[in-house]
């Protein structure tokens, strides 16, 4: 951790004080950008710390990525609109479940629905995970952003039909 960016370094240090062993990686690539990966069991605690203690109360969006055997969810949070902290957490692809954060940040509701639609992640405790962006009649289990679904295969599957 570099002393070049003191405010960002301080945020990382305080996170380490709270959930130290559960942090997989922490980076400060440039001013106003922090990237932290945590283990799934410490994820909710990390969100609570960031929103309640470190004042990262704004969520810009949630990025979902298929990284092979796991799905990685990146929560893009910001503090006063200034520092952007991307909190990464992974969950196994054969049973991708993460706790919802809508009880802490109501504004996350549509972002969780989108990741659910496109990658199949189940957000436990979300009040309504109904489809947000995919059309009516989209075949179940076709998660477009998963790597195993190529464009050609998606089109073949959708052409076959099948209700959602």
């Amino acid at each position: 951790m570099t002393a070049k960016f003191p405010e960002e370094a301080d945020i990382v240090r305080k996170m380490k004080d709270t959930i130290g062993e559960e942090i997989v990686e922490a980076k400060i690539p440039r001013p106003r950008r922090i990237l932290i990966q945590v283990r799934r069991n410490a994820f909710k605690k990390a969100i609570q710390h960031l929103t309640q203690k470190a004042n990262f109360t704004h969520i810009s969006t949630i990025t979902g990525i298929d990284v092979g055997d796991e799905i990685e969810a990146i929560y893009h949070l910001s503090r006063d609109g200034k520092i952007e902290l991307s909190l990464k957490v992974r969950t196994p692809k054969d049973n991708p479940v993460l706790p919802t954060i809508t009880d802490i940040i109501p504004g996350a509701t549509l972002y969780e629905r989108e990741v659910h639609d496109l990658l199949g992640v189940m957000f436990e405790g979300h009040p309504d995970l109904s489809p947000l962006v995919l059309p009516e009649g989209w075949p179940p289990d076709v998660y477009p952003l998963r790597k195993e679904w190529t464009i050609e295969e998606i089109e073949k599957e959708v052409a076959k039909g099948g209700k959602r």
Binding site: L134, P135, E136, W138, P144, I151, I154, V158
Partner: protein
């Protein structure tokens, strides 16, 4: 019937419908109504319902959500009707070819009479397309 055709060719009523595009073509279609371009001097009026429209001006690459609705709107229009595809997306789906939720090109779904290329086409080009359509309607009638 000849009289009605003449009336239609004189002042076509247009329904504008977006099938999931970026809105670039839509703002240029709307711009044709505004004072600099003033498409109403050709007697062209925008309508809100397919049942009153002679011409369907469609933009966008036809997303899956909207395909059935596009077909229904076309079916609800009374004959004789025409379709003008505005913009490159409406013509071929580009640049969204290879996007899983896009059909690509209006004419894969409904018949098209006039194609106006551009990304987006300028309001002058859209008016040119409409004028060509009116000329075609008049020629058909003769």
């Amino acid at each position: 019937m000849g009289f009605l055709k003449w009336i239609r060719a004189k002042s076509p009523w247009i329904l504008h419908f977006n099938t999931g595009g970026c809105n670039g073509c839509d703002i240029e279609v709307v711009a044709t109504l505004t004072p600099r371009f003033d498409v109403e001097r050709f007697g062209i009026i925008k309508r809100g319902s397919p049942r009153h429209a002679d011409v369907l001006a469609v933009t966008g690459p036809v997303t899956r959500q909207v395909k059935d609705r596009l077909v229904r709107i076309y079916e609800q229009m009374p004959e004789p009707k025409s379709v003008i595809a505005v913009g490159t997306c409406a013509i071929s789906g580009a640049p969204f070819i290879g996007c899983y939720n896009v059909h690509g090109g209006i004419d894969s779904v409904i018949p098209v009479d006039v194609y106006v290329p551009g990304c987006p086409p300028k309001p002058e080009a859209i008016i040119d397309g409409l004028v060509k359509l009116i000329s075609k309607l008049r020629a058909d009638q003769e």
